[in-house]
């Protein structure tokens, strides 16, 4: 019997393409840990995100390709994932193991941004990714409620903050420092300082995705965040009606102004499914989110229906994705999380070479090659 070589296997695997990166998995160095024992071929395929929506397809294709090699008796593929580092901005010491920072924003309040953040966090975590949530909504923090956080983050002897962990998700929220009943009434500079603290003094450890629940609007906090945290991308939450869409546009422009790639738009409260029929009732008009995404050329990530259960889950500290995974909303959030992960993978692949992280002095600056 002919001996199967490593090269044979790799050549066969070249037909398997990553649909997003448009390169084959051998070229992308996704194939790891290749072992050939007689007719048995074993290897790992390491994807760029555990949330990859085409994971099963790729696995099936890989098995098929290797099975076609004469002499192969069995193929054993293990799918793994290693989220690539974002090319963006300078990472502070405590953020250096955070691969992607995603800002979830909205132009105005009340569109369900915090609910979306909580559910996306759970959806990403369910794929096996390590996830953190920073609730930067200084004036109306709600993450503690959404995840039923009772304890406060621990301050260690180096004056660094350790996030509270709920169901594997690391959470830091302004609510953990403020009184539930008392409003936060702060001036701009104090807010900026607090945000800086959140970004630079929290020990996040290793994270695949850190979601930041931004306060609504386009003001001081948003600007401070875009300047002090190296954001990989921003997601905008809106509702279908015109006023909200108008505000979402502003949020989008803000991201563009500071060169944070907009990963896409989520339309929340898109339609209502009542108890008795399966019909989608578009109570706030239809397609607002899709319209801005087309007019401004950013991806449309999906529609999330209005379901009473979402609100109940939010108030009870159980995001719908966790509480009722079979619901339409949970499915929508899982799809959106998959798309976000996919966009980020594409982005980091396209940004290789960009100087994101620098702190030069005139003397440490490399000299230009003279012609």
């Amino acid at each position: 019997m002919a001996v199967i070589t490593e090269k044979q296997v790799l050549d066969a695997l070249r037909v398997v393409q990553d649909p997003d990166l448009h390169r084959d998995i051998v070229d992308l160095e996704f194939v790891k840990n290749l072992r050939i024992e007689g007719g048995a071929v074993k290897f790992d395929v390491q994807l760029t995100t555990p949330a990859c929506p085409v994971k099963e397809d790729l696995k099936a294709q890989a098995i098929q390709a290797v099975n076609a090699i004469p002499g192969v008796t069995s193929v054993d593929v293990t799918m793994t994932a290693q989220v690539p580092k974002s090319a963006s901005g300078k990472k502070t010491e405590l953020l250096k193991d955070v691969r992607h920072i995603i800002a979830v924003a909205s132009g105005k309040g009340g569109v369900g941004k915090s609910t979306a953040t909580a559910n996306l966090a759970v959806a990403l975590a369910q794929t096996g990714a390590s996830v953190g949530v920073l609730d930067a909504d200084i004036y109306g923090p709600s993450m503690s409620m959404m995840f039923q956080v009772k304890e406060s983050p621990v301050l260690d002897d180096k004056q660094k903050l350790h996030p509270v962990v709920v169901n594997g998700i690391k959470i830091v929220s302004m609510a953990m420092f403020a009184d539930d009943e008392k409003p936060v009434i702060w001036r701009g500079p104090m807010v900026s300082q607090m945000i800086q603290n959140f970004v630079h003094n929290v020990v996040w450890g290793e994270l695949d995705y850190l979601l930041i629940d931004m306060p609504p609007g386009t003001g001081d906090v948003q600007l401070t965040l875009t300047q002090s945290a190296p954001l990989s991308g921003g997601v905008i939450v809106t509702t279908p009606q015109d006023v909200s869409v108008l505000d979402a546009k502003k949020g989008l422009k803000m991201f563009q102004k500071v060169s944070v790639p907009v990963l896409g738009i989520i339309e929340n409260m898109s339609y209502f499914i009542c108890d008795n029929c399966e019909k989608k009732h578009y109570i706030f008009r239809q397609g607002g989110g899709r319209r801005i995404s087309t007019s401004l050329g950013v991806p449309f990530l999906g529609e999330v229906p209005l379901e009473p259960e979402v609100a109940v889950g939010g108030d009870a500290g159980l995001p719908i994705v966790e509480k009722n995974p079979a619901s339409a909303s949970a499915k929508a959030y899982r799809d959106i999380a998959g798309l976000i992960a996919q966009e980020l993978s594409i982005l980091s692949a396209s940004q290789t070479g960009v100087l994101g992280d620098f702190d030069y002095t005139w003397d440490t600056l490399p000299k230009a090659k003279t012609a």
Partner: protein, 114 residues
């Protein structure tokens, strides 16, 4: 998604020129003095009227960018050797400066191709 302008390399070009290589394949050569006098911060340019508040004659002849730091992913903060450090230069602004100041900088240097 539209590609945003970002540097792929920043270099020192003697004696007093900053050279930035962009991800669109172009290069901007910017004289230190010109960059300093174009500082967009609120102390140098009136935020409301756009009037230039900076007295250029007070810029030392041997001005140097002492430190250059990335700001988010859209800009660079420059700390100058004269102590001024409130300027945040967006990449877009730097490209624009290059377009308007390039010819002057080049002719002074005797127009060497990059």
């Amino acid at each position: 998604m539209t590609k945003v302008i970002a540097p792929i390399g920043i270099f020192r070009k003697d004696p007093d020129m900053l050279s930035i290589q962009w991800n669109d394949g172009t290069t901007s050569d910017l004289k230190a003095r010109y960059l300093r006098s174009s500082c967009p911060c609120a102390a140098c340019v009136n935020e409301w009227t756009g009037e230039k508040m900076l007295d250029e004659s007070r810029i030392p002849a041997d001005i140097k960018p002492a430190r250059m730091l990335a700001v988010g992913r859209y800009a660079m903060a420059i700390h100058w050797s004269d102590g001024h450090k409130t300027g945040i230069y967006s990449y877009e602004y730097l490209k624009k400066l290059d377009a308007s100041g390039q010819s002057a900088a080049r002719s002074e240097l005797g127009s060497k191709a990059t």
